[in-house]
């Protein structure tokens, strides 16, 4: 690790000021991603601004929305009664990630901004356009089992590894941001960029812009929702493919509304807008789910080691929605 200074901020304003004072400052949440990357010298901040002292409040409002402070720990969010009751897919997504210990450390803000686990991003002897723009990408022809099938570019196929974000994408979460230029709100699904030819620029955040909170708008039918994660061992592994879904089926068996997002398949939490649009008004049948899955994955491109994810994603989507519809896959 390169040397750095450390300061702890109790509020957003202080945090932004502290960060603004150092050219390569980073906010520090639980450190479970940043400290690891600093040890690998992939991240070399000159200053750490500890933001775990910011709001750890979870505010369940009467209108059914929930406001979550950025410093809320992953465990606390997953265990919160209102989340479990109204947004079970979010609890389940968080609990499917990492380990009990890491979830106790990890913050909501840090989870959203964790970086990819692409093997070539992690190895400074490899070529990686994300680490060194223009260097090339060794993952394309290398071990890319974990890499993206949707939204990738020739320059980069790294995935965003978060489970939590998949649920947040499905829930249409809004991020509260604060920076030197004031505060703003954006949709979580707009936060992460697709790589195109600039995979080093991962989000639309401005320099030292801080996530202060995440807001979940009310979504009554999310009470019937789930998260399904497929991985290489039974626990404590990143997703190969995951799906967060909520389903609202009318009495006549047609789909009133649906939310669907995918993890492990794209450089960002992948909201399946196409599939959702096809399904609204369609019958809640396995066949309809499969057709929508086919459409969502129509543009998927497999690499040498991850083509299996295309079929896997279709199956996971179909099975997850079928289960929510009350049937057996």
């Amino acid at each position: 690790m390169t040397p750095f200074t450390y300061a702890r901020a109790q509020d957003a304003q202080t945090a932004i000021q502290l960060a603004g004072a150092a050219p390569a400052a980073r906010y520090l949440g639980g450190g479970t991603n940043l400290v690891d990357l600093m040890r690998e010298t992939i991240e070399t901040p000159d200053a750490l601004v500890d933001v775990t002292g910011l709001s750890q409040a979870i505010e369940a409002r009467d209108d059914g929305s929930i406001l979550i402070g950025a410093a809320v720990k992953n465990t606390a969010l997953a265990a919160h009664r209102a989340v479990r009751q109204h947004f079970p897919l979010l609890s389940r997504a968080i609990l499917a990630g990492a380990s009990g210990q890491i979830r106790n450390m990890a913050t909501v803000g840090g989870n959203i901004l964790q970086r990819t686990r692409c093997l070539y991003f992690y190895d400074d002897a490899a070529r990686c356009n994300k680490r060194s723009p223009g260097a090339g990408c060794d993952a394309r022809e290398g071990f890319n089992r974990m890499n993206a099938i949707l939204g990738a570019s020739d320059a980069c196929s790294a995935t965003h590894p978060s489970d939590m974000c998949v649920a947040l994408a499905a829930l249409d979460a809004t991020l509260h941001l604060a920076g030197a230029e004031g505060t703003r709100r954006i949709k979580l699904v707009e936060l992460h960029r697709l790589p195109d030819d600039q995979p080093d620029i991962e989000t639309i955040l401005r320099p030292h812009e801080l996530i202060t909170a995440v807001e979940l708008p009310a979504l009554p039918f999310a009470a019937r929702s789930t998260y399904r994660k497929v991985r290489d061992r039974a626990s404590y592994a990143f997703a190969l493919v995951s799906a967060a879904a909520a389903l609202d089926v009318a009495a006549d068996g047609t789909i009133r509304d649906v939310r669907l997002a995918l993890g492990g398949v794209a450089p960002k939490p992948w909201r399946a807008f196409k599939a959702e649009a096809m399904l609204r008004g369609a019958p809640a049948t396995a066949a309809a789910f499969r057709t929508a899955a086919e459409a969502e994955l129509a543009e998927a491109v497999g690499l040498s080691g991850n083509s299996f994810k295309i079929e896997l994603a279709k199956r996971v989507i179909t099975a997850t929605l079928t289960e929510l519809a009350g049937g057996v896959a």
Binding site: Y122, A126, D138, G142, D232, R233, A234, E311, L312, A329
Partner: protein, 765 residues
């Protein structure tokens, strides 16, 4: 089996055998003392209390911390190595590279001399040549670990790359046939197996592939080195303290006695905690700095600088007659290796000893690559060899429409099929029968895909487990008896979690006729009488024989000391036995004197005797192996291809079990590592760079709690009359056969044959 029955049986067996009777009995009265009982680990309280100090935890004044830079090319030379920035970083004591490292002789590679322990014969930081991607190229010493780690990142190193052999496929073009596979012939041919195969009524001819594995003991490799003049003390995590001491002494031009290796606790070994470059570099850096040095490899460092199990491609061809007996058995293949090590991965060994066949052909090759020297890892050879052989047998059983267990029963040989030697003990068929009954094998449907629970398809599979009995030559034990009736049994052997220290204390207590809490087994230190390496499941036999010899020597010493006033006066060592804390005349049980009384009369505080173990002649005469059967039930998700092991039973035949508790753990531990081998483990070697790309416990998957069901183990417990204590080492056998049992169960669940490990879900979609 009851203790009494067992005792009677072993006495009977011993009387028929040509090994010393005392190998099978211990003390006369208390036939086996606590041997066999589920005695709790003696080092347990220290370990659960966090008070056992491992190699990286020895407190020392003036300690410096090391960090290592690893090469990023597979072959070539260091073109430039700029240490300026690193040297001027805060806290840095020095930077060591090939230009200033102490001059060292070439490492004596394992098998090149009896005590040679180096895993590679390459020079250690002596020149600018690079031989593998990940080779240590510089060591930074600093006052703190943080400073050393940072300074390494400031080294500026450039390379001139040379063409490297880093594709297994390309390397196979130049595959060679080694002279020997360990100490065995490389090839065995009985009859014309290819012709017999061609003419067989039923035949299968299949290829299997297994990937690279890493031991990944949870304790990171670490060494702490302190020089006092020309004497080196090395605190190591080691499964071969004497070989490490001898080898380092050779390299530094010292006498073996000048290199003191201390390794009381080892946080898992599995073959990985032998002598690699990091211990040598620690000693060299400490010498250069004139200060103690601690070097802990990072987890990435473990993948770069410590070899693992190599990759193999194997062919198994079986030709059968209508009754299932084999007309031809062929097992051949190739493993990746290097020109600078000696570990051909003996995957053809099981096929040499398991099944009767009219004709047999086994032979294996190695393909040299530019990579870190591969090495022995739990069940080397047998773990991946049984995957191929036992999967093929399952396929043959199906072709013959025979139950796989019935097929194996029909293939049971009367004597060793290739050496022709008599088996010292073999109760494999019994292990099959007992295991099958316990597991409920009869519920298996021969037709794949017949059982289902929701999305999950269920299947059962079975495979034979086998591992040779080895006893290492050399080694000696000393027993010191004190006037208060306590024994200190000493041998520089190793406890890495196998239970060795506990089992040998049980053994010594039984042998000396002392209560268990009066016996301490001391190990893990080269100041003790020399031990043998903890490898090849050989320690139990190697230590036991040395203790038996030392007890004999001690008895003679005691009788001499007892003199004419003793009730034992005039008796020879062969006429007495140990019993109840003393010696007793065998023919006249009333003639007895306690150790305390003998020592007291002679006014001695203690008495000690040391003896060397006799050479392992038993393996010359007999075919000696452990056996087992792995029963597995899996669930395979039809939607996602995920495989979950829902039930597992290991039924073993490994001679007498010496401690039911630690043995159970050894078997289960092997099985669990086998589940990793079957389902997830793969050290990803990028054939463009020769670099392992997942040097991390997050990306190299080993089984977690959730992957592991409640495993059952059982054993025949029938003593091997040709082995000391009637027992075999059991560290490795647990992993053998597991890959095949899982693969066969996956087939039974899904109808899909997976012939390449690991069985990841994409292969089942």
């Amino acid at each position: 089996m009851s203790g009494q029955m067992e005792a009677r049986q072993s006495a009977m067996l011993a009387s028929m055998s040509d090994v010393p009777e005392r190998w099978l009995t211990t003390s006369a009265r208390d036939k086996h003392g606590t041997l066999g009982a589920p005695v709790t680990r003696m080092d347990g309280a220290l370990k659960v209390g966090g008070r056992a100090r491992f190699a990286a935890e020895v407190p020392l004044d003036g300690l410096t911390y090391a960090a290592v830079a690893f090469s990023t090319i597979a072959k070539g030379r260091i073109a430039a190595l700029d240490t300026t920035a690193a040297e001027s970083a805060p806290g840095v004591v020095l930077v060591m590279d090939y230009r200033n490292a102490p001059r060292l002789k070439l490492p004596p590679v394992m098998f090149s001399a009896p005590k040679a322990g180096a895993q590679s014969s390459l020079p250690v930081m002596q020149d600018e040549q690079i031989h593998w991607n990940g080779q240590p190229v510089a060591v930074v010493l600093a006052e703190t670990q943080e400073q050393a780690d940072h300074a390494v990142s400031l080294l500026r190193i450039s390379y001139e790359a040379a063409p490297a052999v880093i594709s297994f496929g390309a390397a196979q073009q130049n595959a060679r046939t080694p002279e020997k596979i360990l100490r065995e012939p490389t090839s065995v041919a009985i009859g014309d197996a290819e012709a017999a195969l061609a003419g067989a009524a039923f035949k299968i001819d299949l290829n299997y592939r297994t990937p690279r594995h890493n031991h990944n003991a949870i304790e990171l490799h670490a060494a702490t080195a302190v020089w006092q003049g020309d004497r080196l003390t090395l605190h190591d995590a080691s499964q071969m303290v004497n070989m490490t001491s001898w080898t380092i002494a050779e390299m530094f031009g010292l006498k073996e006695a000048q290199v003191h290796v201390h390794s009381p606790y080892v946080g898992g070994g599995f073959g990985g905690k032998c002598l690699w470059t990091h211990q040598i570099l620690t000693a060299a850096a400490a010498r250069l700095a004139g200060r103690p040095v601690r070097l802990t490899l990072s987890r990435e460092g473990v993948f770069r600088a410590v070899g693992g199990r190599t990759t193999t491609e194997q062919r198994v061809a079986l030709g059968a007659k209508a009754d299932g007996t084999l007309a031809a058995l062929i097992h051949t293949g190739v493993a990746a290796m290097t020109t600078h090590n000696n570990c051909p991965e003996q995957f053809t060994f099981p096929a040499r000893h398991l099944y009767a066949a009219d004709t047999i052909k086994v032979t294996q090759q190695v393909a040299d690559m530019n990579m870190i020297a591969n090495t022995f890892m739990r069940g080397p050879g047998e773990s991946v060899g049984t995957f191929a052989l036992e999967c093929a047998l399952d396929e043959l059983a199906e072709a013959l429409q025979l139950d796989p267990i019935e097929l194996r029963r029909r293939l049971e040989p009367e004597k060793d099929p290739t050496s022709g030697k008599a088996f010292s003990a073999r109760h494999l068929v019994e292990a099959y029968q007992r295991g099958a009954a316990r597991f409920g094998w009869e519920k298996r449907s021969a037709k794949p895909g017949a059982r289902r629970e929701g999305e999950w398809l269920l299947g059962m599979g079975v495979a034979t487990a086998t591992y040779p009995y080895y006893r290492q030559p050399g080694g000696a034990a000393r027993i010191r008896l004190t006037a208060d009736g306590r024994a200190f049994v000493q041998m520089a052997s190793h406890e890495m979690g196998m239970g060795t220290a506990t089992v040998q204390a049980q053994h010594a207590a039984a042998r000396l006729g002392l209560p268990l809490d009066h016996v301490v087994f001391e190990y893990g230190d080269t100041d003790l009488p020399p031990g043998t390496l903890a490898g090849g499941s050989s320690q139990t036999a190697s230590i036991s024989v040395a203790i038996i010899a030392a007890t004999q020597a001690l008895t003679e010493e005691l009788l001499r000391l007892a003199g004419n006033e003793s009730p034992l006066a005039g008796l020879s060592a062969d006429e007495v036995e140990t019993s109840d804390g003393g010696l007793r005349a065998i023919a006249e049980p009333d003639r007895f004197e306690s150790y305390a009384s003998i020592l007291g009369r002679a006014k001695r505080d203690d008495i000690s005797a040391m003896a060397e173990a006799p050479p392992p002649s038993e393996v010359q005469t007999y075919s000696m192996h452990s056996y087992g059967v792995q029963f597995c039930e899996v669930k395979v998700n039809e939607v996602t291809g995920e495989v979950r092991v829902s039930r597992f039973l290991g039924s073993f035949d490994c001679g007498r079990i010496l401690n039911a508790k630690t043995a159970t753990s050894q078997f289960k531990g092997g099985i669990i590592m086998g589940l990793g081998l079957a389902l997830m483990e793969d050290a990803l070697f990028d054939e463009r760079s020769g670099r392992i790309m997942n040097p991390s416990l997050a990306e190299y998957h080993v089984p977690v709690h959730m992957d592991v069901p409640e495993i059952e183990v059982m054993w025949t417990g029938i003593p091997d009359p040709k082995a000391p204590l009637g027992a075999h080492g059991i560290g490795e056998i647990g992993i053998t056969g597991v890959g095949a049992a899982v693969a066969n169960a996956v087939y039974n669940a899904t109808g899909r044959r997976i012939r390449e490990l690991p069985i990841t879900l994409d292969k089942l979609l």
